[in-house]
């Protein structure tokens, strides 16, 4: 064979084989709930992000409790530290566990190709929250075991020392409060957790709380989120003002997430914008640091509609059944049991995914203050993701808020109006090319 043709042929062959990335997509299946627990059998693998719970044996305890009802099902856990990236690659095969958390990368319209349905929305919505987040064509594909609501974690002692007893009701009042903390205490009034990146993305979840609007997601898809008075603009402006007025930590570029927990508990940091899911972690950090966990408070975004605060309740990762699983009944049994009976939501001080369950004790102050709980309608969620990737703004990515913080502390040139205006322009262009506007 000629010396030149051999490599050429090989390359051609490789190119051909390279184009065959598409496997035979299955047409969808149902994961039916078993009637008789003793008849279900098999070993199922559950993928999870909670590597900490895998390591300390907490999940094993749940599995043992599950076996009391389903004696023939064996549950194995696989904790993934970099969940999104690792699962994304495995989703190209059929081997991605029996039960998994639906990764953000999967398009909603592709759910039936990857996951088995848990039932129709009509029947599930009567009992469970968040069904519309995973509904495709009237069928539900996932269920989150917990509900979360975003908010500020704060150190009650420090806020009291600064003389603030009531939650601020407007962003301006909030800034005034942080200024009081700065002048009267030694604490950093706010901590951005800039270097850890993802904590900045929680600022996107102000969406809905500002205007107390259940149609907030649809609004993101159809209008400019950074127009005057829009939810994201209000949130981003507050973040900008906090950093601009010198109320955040001195050097955001070298922050440390793990260290920020005990520091807030001890009162070296006064406030962080996170969510209910973080409360349990900060309380643990307080216990380890030998300070009172009761010092850790939780407050809603400083905005009121008709004299009431608004808290948006949303799902965490949704659990789903792999459409290629050989033990769909066992997998379904696990999801139902974990959602309804495991006590996982209570253990994590989270909001129960069951509609008739009471609020957790940590949200007692919310009930006393008459905070209104809403669920944002997610029927436009798929389009939102489309506009977001097309515009490359990345509202669920840290980048643009890192730029915002840089802008606020003068490490980047420009004005806030131009910056948010540019985001709005890119967003609107993407809306036009995707066709949602």
């Amino acid at each position: 064979m000629n010396r030149r043709t051999l490599p050429a042929l090989l390359t051609a062959g490789l190119l051909l084989s390279a184009c065959t990335g598409t496997g035979g997509a299955s047409k969808g299946a149902d994961a039916k709930a078993p009637d008789d627990p003793s008849k279900v059998s098999g070993t199922i693998k559950v993928l999870t992000v909670r590597t900490d719970l895998v390591q300390d044996g907490t999940l094993k305890k749940y599995a043992d409790a599950f076996r009391e009802t389903y004696p023939n099902v064996k549950v194995e856990f696989e904790g993934l530290t970099n969940y999104e990236a690792e699962v994304k690659i495995r989703m190209n095969t059929e081997n991605y566990g029996d039960v998994l958390l639906i990764p953000a990368v999967i398009k909603k319209s592709d759910y039936p190709k990857f996951f088995a349905s848990l039932g129709t929305q009509a029947e599930r919505a009567a009992k469970y929250r968040f069904t519309d987040f995973t509904t495709v064509g009237g069928k539900v594909y996932g269920q989150s075991p917990v509900g979360v609501t975003p908010g500020f974690l704060y150190n009650k002692r420090i806020w009291q020392e600064a003389g603030i007893t009531d939650w601020p009701t407007t962003p301006a009042e909030f800034i005034t409060a942080l200024k009081a903390i700065k002048s009267k205490t030694d604490a950093d009034p706010y901590y951005t957790n800039f270097a850890a990146q993802w904590p900045l993305t929680s600022w996107t979840y102000v969406n809905g709380s500002v205007g107390c609007d259940t149609g907030a997601t649809t609004k993101l898809v159809e209008s400019d989120p950074w127009a005057k008075g829009a939810d994201l603009r209000v949130g981003d402006t507050l973040l900008y003002d906090i950093v601009h007025d010198g109320l955040a930590e001195k050097d955001p570029t070298t922050t440390n997430w793990e260290a920020s927990k005990p520091r807030l508990a001890k009162g070296q940091i006064a406030t962080q914008w996170l969510g209910t899911w973080a409360i349990v972690q900060f309380q643990d950090a307080a216990k380890k640091a030998g300070v009172d966990p009761a010092d850790i408070g939780f407050m809603p975004f400083p905005a009121q509609v008709d004299g009431k605060f608004c808290a948006v309740v949303g799902p965490d990762y949704n659990q789903a059944v792999n459409v290629h699983s050989e033990h769909k009944e066992a997998a379904r049994a696990w999801i139902d049991w974990f959602t309804d009976k495991s006590g996982y939501a209570d253990d994590n001080l989270a909001i129960s995914p069951l509609k008739n369950a009471p609020l957790p004790a940590v949200l007692q102050p919310y009930e006393e203050a008459g905070v209104k709980f809403i669920e944002v309608d997610d029927s436009a969620g798929a389009q939102l993701k489309l506009v977001d990737t097309e515009s490359e703004v990345g509202i669920y990515a840290p980048d643009y808020r890192q730029d915002l913080v840089d802008l606020a502390r003068g490490a980047r040139k420009g004005s806030l109006d131009d910056f948010l205006g540019d985001l709005g322009k890119r967003w609107t262009e993407a809306q036009q090319s995707v066709g949602t506007r």
């Binding site: 990236a85 990368v105 398009k107 270097a195 490359e392 840290p398 502390r409 490490a411 980047r412």
Partner: protein, 320 residues
């Protein structure tokens, strides 16, 4: 240089130039044996070739193929879009602005090569504790890049290692090292010098030590000092290695990734082309576009290397 050395050189060269007489052609072997002899090298090559094809060329071919599609990295469906991704790349100049960041790393690699050359030269002479110093200089290269990123994050922290060391000398800068784009890029480029200088150093040292010792002796007899020895013996002797190092540094500066990705994640104006590509692929799920960006980077690196080889041709050096 004086006549004696020159004469010695020409004499040696002449001796080397003499080649053994060509071996007589072997008698024609039988067909089977000939076939076996022809196949032998290929049999030996099967294992490395299989590895090379599976782990180097197949993924590259795959990447090139993806660059012509709109694949999002996970969906079972992908569509052929022709040169669409390349058109998009080339019509978005802001995607190439990140190459300005490479300038910092390019400047740093010049510093790195000079420093490595300096240390290699010094340590090639008889210095006390020279093996110890060799170890110290090469050690950083052996550490995993991710670990280095984390270590230096503490190093640059407010009140971290660097600030403490400076305050020992009475300097209180109160400077946020990663705080502004210029400062952050210089700090990160500094980390990269710290990490990769060991590699350059070892390459140079190896090249210097392969220069025969009698050349130095002869030069010393002729009254050459250390600088002359470097200028007329070492520098020409390591020219191929030097030009290799330059090529590696330039392509390295264009495709910096680990250190800035771990330490700043590309924030505060430290985003490089590779970080941007990774974000396109994994944050915005535009695997097709990101593959095209990777192909473009490959072409740019090849082009730069080609230009460089044109400007500085690799002529054979013959010291002896």
């Amino acid at each position: 240089m004086t006549d004696t050395t020159e004469a010695a050189m020409t004499g040696r060269a002449a001796a080397r130039g003499k080649e053994p007489p060509p071996a007589p052609a072997p008698p024609q072997a039988p067909r089977g044996a000939r076939l076996r002899r022809g196949a032998t090298p290929w049999l030996f090559l099967i294992a490395p070739l299989a590895l090379l094809l599976t782990f180097t060329y197949a993924p590259i071919a795959n990447m090139v193929a993806y660059s012509f599609t709109d694949w999002d990295g996970v969906s079972p469906e992908l569509h052929y879009t022709g040169a669409g991704n390349y058109t998009e790349l080339l019509t978005r100049p802001e995607l190439f602005e990140v190459f300005f960041v490479s300038g910092y790393y390019l400047a740093a690699s010049a510093v790195q090569i000079v420093a490595a050359l300096y240390f290699a030269t010094i340590l090639s002479f008889d210095v006390r504790f020279r093996n110890f110093f060799k170890g110290v200089l090469f050690f950083p290269y052996l550490i995993n890049g991710v670990a280095i990123g984390f270590v230096f994050l503490y190093f640059f922290q407010d009140g971290g290692t660097l600030d403490s060391v400076l305050s020992v000398f009475g300097v209180h800068t109160d400077h946020a090292w990663l705080g502004t784009p210029t400062s952050a890029n210089i700090s990160l480029a500094g980390v990269s010098v710290w990490r990769y200088m060991g590699l350059n150093f070892v390459l140079f040292l190896g090249a210097i030590q392969s220069i025969p010792g009698e050349l130095y002796e002869a030069a010393e007899l002729d009254g050459a000092n250390r600088w002359h020895q470097f200028r007329y013996i070492i520098a020409p002797g390591i020219k191929p290695v030097l030009s290799l190092s330059v090529i590696l540094s330039i392509s390295g500066s264009l495709s910096v990734f680990e250190i800035p990705y771990i330490m700043t994640g590309g924030a505060t104006g430290t985003e490089t082309f590779v970080i941007q590509t990774v974000k396109l692929a994994f944050q915005f799920n535009k695997t097709g576009l990101a593959s095209a960006a990777a192909v473009v980077l490959l072409l740019i690196v090849l082009a730069v290397t080609w230009v460089q080889r044109r400007l500085v041709p690799d002529d054979r050096v013959d010291l002896v």
